[in-house]
Symmetry: C2
Subunit: 372 residues, 2 copies
């Protein structure tokens, strides 16, 4: 079981720092988790992740279940050993990918039937099956199976989805209590779409299960950022303060700052890694597109203030050259930079909260920054 | 100018070890040079190359001329600074790629006109232009422009090509003497196809130019290995022993052993890197195809005797998983292993020569090995 402790609390906002212990090490919060879908954070080695400041990474249950399959990972002592990452790992439940990637999906009380996006094979993902897979992967943090919905969704659809999510969470909790090791902490996922009363109902039903941590699902699914911020601001205080609060699949650098201000402790998103592979690189003043012709002979680094491996050794001209030639090394160097940018932002956020100057940090952050 | 010195000489074969000094460091021979076509050895960082034992890498003049172009590299102090590799670099002349990649090529006394394989633009590569590009890249070893021919080629065609190669070499030498820095050593390329008397003529004409080093071109272009070995065995002794002798574009592990036995000092080939990207991995007992289903749950390393980063930390099961999913990290881990395999083979070859047991090394090498 993880042990979560609040270290400092901002006086002007709801931002806070904390630490929690997992079987694979201590995590300082607020934390951003790079996404390692298939047992690899695309293009990076575990050593590079550490150098970028990564404390915990995320694996995708849906993907790992289909490839390489639990029976393969079971030959190793979990996903950590399989992929040579000995820090903490969080796995999602698979529900979101069934919703976003699989075809012919059908939701019933029992679970979600779907066809693999790879070979069309049929599968049934139940709450118990999701637990079983995540326990086999030996994740430090495992997530309850939830029902994800489209945005916008009707009140009726949202109500039904959150009710099913609560019943599934109870089944997950039961299976987890009977089968998981002490090292696998179970988080519940609050649904309820963009309806405050439904978010409240979902939060209450999950909090009643007394789980080690809680997440907000169904955010950043197409709604405007102010709506997302409002919904997080409403929902986060409904979750117990002595538990880590995780906002799933979020977000831009601005989202991270705004949601930390509202009390969020954990984030994950493909933004830094996917943007890197598309040549979009984060800097203190906004994103640049490295393929832009103006970088052709630019001998400077991506960001003069950045201390990452890429910025210490390579120019914009070289990165543009590699990217235009679609060289494999381009994806690595770009990813190192973007992941470092996100993790360094979180480090600076934690430092600002600890020194109780988070609100001025937040203002300075926008002062130097254009839109993400 | 490089300073080449023979360190030891095998008594039973023509194998020898040597060292030569370049402006960017000392190279111990026999040496294998990983190919970094576009200013990057595909998927690897310079630090990884050093860890694999790389002493010198190769850049391709044709590719670098087209992308990013000399005017970009000129903003840096050469290719080394541009790509963050501060060891020695050899660049080829561009001739082979004009021959193998470009379209609408036409050879005249002046040079080779061709259309870019990227955008169809027209270019003229003269001996002087090849020198100019390679000097701009600030390569430690630059190569004379030569005329490459198909295999098999008629005696007439081969004779004409070697004669043009000699006239171009003279023009390269003249341009180099007037324009190159002391750090850019010029190597001549012996042609002559599979005709011993033509190889002899070509060697004599080039040796008369008294260049810092010599290469054999036009080998491993489709002829059976025994023919290549015979041709190298015939030609290498025609080159001065106090100069490094380089066999271009070769080869398999067996080729390296056989050609070292015949007196070759330097090699380059895309085999280790290209094979890696196709999932073909070298081991002491032969090549394996990592996509093979028998590796699905195999917890062992690629090669139990290998000390590379990949073998120290990753299983065949993980590598197969990454490769089947076409994950970027697969190409890196595979390339690290194959490059390490080649460079470790060269290290063991040098050690065997220095201890004057190269012939028994060679026998043991075949004893444990299947075909490449």
């Amino acid at each position: 079981m993880i042990n979560f402790e609040i270290i400092s609390q901002s006086t002007e906002t709801r931002a806070r720092t904390g630490r929690f212990e997992t079987a694979h090490g201590v995590i300082e919060t607020p934390v951003f988790m790079p996404v390692g879908t298939l047992g690899t954070v695309k293009a990076l080695s575990p050593e590079e992740l550490y150098q970028c400041g990564a404390q915990i990474i995320l694996g995708n249950t849906y993907h790992l279940y289909l490839r390489p399959g639990c029976e393969v990972v079971a030959q190793f002592s979990g996903l950590h050993d399989f992929m040579h990452w000995d820090g903490p790992i969080l796995t999602d439940s698979g529900g979101f990918q069934v919703f976003s990637l699989a075809t012919l999906r059908k939701i019933s009380e029992e679970g979600a039937t779907f066809q693999s996006h790879i070979d069309g094979s049929s599968h049934l993902l139940t709450p118990e099956k999701s637990m079983e897979i995540q326990i086999c992967l030996n994740s430090d943090i495992i997530m309850c199976l939830d029902q994800c919905i489209q945005y916008p969704a009707s009140r009726e659809e949202t109500t039904e989805a959150l009710a099913l999510t609560s019943r599934w969470a109870t089944r997950c909790r039961d299976f987890w209590q009977e089968n998981a090791g002490a090292a696998n902490a179970l988080f519940g996922i609050v649904q309820g779409g963009m309806y405050e009363d439904l978010r409240k109902r979902s939060a209450e039903e999950l909090v009643a299960l007394d789980l080690p941590g809680y997440a907000l699902g169904g955010l950043s699914v197409g709604e405007p950022p102010p709506i997302m911020y409002d919904m997080a601001e409403f929902t986060l205080p409904l979750l117990p303060d002595n538990r880590p609060k995780y906002i799933m699949g979020v977000g831009t650098p601005t989202d991270l700052v705004e949601l930390v201000a509202r009390g969020a402790d954990m984030f994950d998103c493909v933004m830094p890694t996917r943007n890197a592979r598309n040549g979009h690189l984060f800097t203190g003043s906004g994103k640049i597109n490295i393929s832009n012709a103006r970088f052709k002979s630019d001998t400077g680094p991506i960001d003069a203030n950045c201390a990452c491996y890429t910025c210490r050794h390579y120019s914009r001209a070289y990165l543009r050259h590699l990217y235009m030639a679609r060289e494999l090394f381009a994806y690595r160097l770009n990813t190192i930079h973007n992941v470092h940018f996100y993790l360094d932002l979180m480090r600076r956020i934690r430092e600002a909260i600890e020194q109780d100057r988070f609100d001025s940090f937040r203002k300075a952050f926008y002062f130097e920054r254009q839109a993400d």
